[in-house]
């Protein structure tokens, strides 16, 4: 099923209900009558989207959203299965709290993409805003499982308080990448902001960019190594079609243990040259 944005409002639209499992098997007119919150008012899907069922039988759990969807909040939020494709830019809370399925954005995503997710795969072909896979304010744990792939760059505090899972960033990352990380893996291939891994307890932050990194002073360099597990991750990323350069597979990585202020069981691996 395809929903084409009519661009009829600039008010924020709560799009939580637009997930594959809620539209699968429903006729187009029924989907068009589904309620949505627009600002402080109510509207129906048909008021905001052109509902097109022409490309499928309706039984498969596949949903495509088209248009400039920057003021749609929570696209795919708490989704559990199926495939959701966004052809255009997505608003905040994309895929927040999802537990399964695939969300793919052919564009950019705003803040909180994949925040506190517990499964599934979120693929953002463009850039993402702040707090990718992070914990919400007041919450102790961010992303619990699953995978977030951002081909472009991410803003501040990606992976904040993340507990498990994988975040990969093809471009630059803002300040506080993996800040207060509890566990899990973050990989970035571009420039790195300040305070990466600050306050992390466990987990891995692999920085494969060649631009140089200012590692937080509460981390201790332990030496330079090649890590077989990192090759496994890189091969898997390449398998997902993520842009991984051939030279990184044999990379030497400098390992920094830390954050020593939090027990030092985590690690930041920094590119130290091709093997």
């Amino acid at each position: 099923m395809i929903l084409r944005w009519k661009d009829g409002t600039k008010l924020p639209v709560e799009a939580d209900s637009l997930v594959p499992e809620t539209v699968a098997g429903r006729p187009a007119d029924e989907v068009a009558r589904m309620p949505l919150s627009v600002g402080n008012a109510r509207a129906e899907v048909g008021d905001l989207f052109v509902v097109d069922r022409s490309n499928g039988t309706g039984s498969e759990e596949t949903l495509i959203l088209e248009g400039d969807l920057r003021n749609l909040r929570g696209i795919g939020r708490r989704m559990a299965r199926g495939t959701l494709t966004v052809r255009g830019d997505a608003g905040p809370y994309l895929g927040a709290g999802i537990s399964g399925g695939l969300i793919e954005v052919h564009g950019n995503a705003d803040d909180w993409a994949g925040a506190e997710m517990s499964g599934g795969l979120v693929r953002i072909r463009g850039n993402a805003g702040r707090f990718v896979g992070a914990s919400f304010p007041g919450s102790r744990i961010g992303m619990r499982a699953g995978v977030i792939l951002v081909d472009g760059s991410v803003g501040e505090d990606a992976g904040r308080r993340m507990r498990r899972g994988l975040i990969a960033v093809g471009g630059a990352a803002g300040e506080g990448f993996g800040r207060s990380l509890i566990a899990g893996s973050l990989v970035a291939f571009g420039a790195m902001g300040r305070q990466a891994g600050a306050g992390m307890k466990r987990g891995t932050i692999a920085l494969l960019g060649t631009q140089g990194v200012e590692v937080f002073p509460t981390f201790a360099l332990s030496g330079t190594y090649r890590f077989p597990f990192l090759r496994i991750y890189l091969r898997r990323l390449a398998g997902w079609g993520f842009p991984v350069g051939a030279d990184v597979f044999s990379a030497q990585m400098a390992r920094y243990n830390g954050d020593l202020a939090e027990g030092g069981q985590g690690e930041i691996l920094v590119w130290a040259g091709a093997g």
Partner: protein
Amino acid sequence: MTDTPQTPSPARRPLSIARVEIIDTFAEAFPMTAARAIVTADDPRWAEVAGRTMSGYATSVIGCDAEAAIERALAPEETPDGRPGVSVLLFAFSRDALEKALANRVGQCVMTCPTSACYNGLPLDERSIGVGSRLRYFGDGYQISKCLDGRRYWRIPVMDGEFTCEERFGTTKGVAGGNIILLGVDPRATLAAAEAAVAAMREVGQVILPFPGGIARSGSKVGSKYKALRASTNTAFCPMLRGLVPCELPEQVRCVYEMVIDGLTLESVERATVAGIHAACEFELVQVSAGNYGGKLGPFHIHLHEVLSREGMPRGTREGGNR
């Protein structure tokens, strides 16, 4: 000593390949639990060292905790971490026995080997066994787990960096104890035939030949005059004992070699049997036979004539004739 042999059943229907008689008998094989370990290292040499070491003293479950050998070398693109490696197959009588043997062998022989890592090479299901989950404690609290695609890897700090080992290894019901026995006149020619057979069988894949170089010279029979022994030399196949004990060998035979085949499937063991016979018959032999226990112990009976006819006869095969 091998775990299979007894006297072959008497010939009923003559078949020969390149003037080598194929005895109308069968190899008797047994179900055993199998696992496949993918061992990698920074270069092929160390991967092979690790693979060979972990499959040492693993010829027969008569006297070893498992039967194991290198299945084949792996190119970097075939391994989980993109490094050169080898695949090792291990067989034991039960999952518990296999888990213990595999964890011990990976811990003592792979983890200790420079630059190595070890991964599961079979699908995971409810029959999988713990390996990395047992070895992780060697990390003394500094081990790190990584989970990707539902598979967990343990990173254990060691003196050249870290040892990576997958947490669980899949198992399957394999077939062990397939065999062929080559009977020759000249020991050198018989050994050359055995070596050629081993090379051909290893090409088949999904099989191992756990004895030294794939060849066993000390076939055994069940029991012994000494009460403490479960098995003893197969006197009927020892040319030196001709005249002292009942002998199963044609008069001119003075050298016998056996190749024991363990495989992940019956089909792979059968294909290895056929490949081995064809390769061996290029050499000067008298007979090709197989060991069994009269069909009373193992559920898999690999009849030599049947598998050869199923796979197609090579040139030089004569059915219904004599040498």
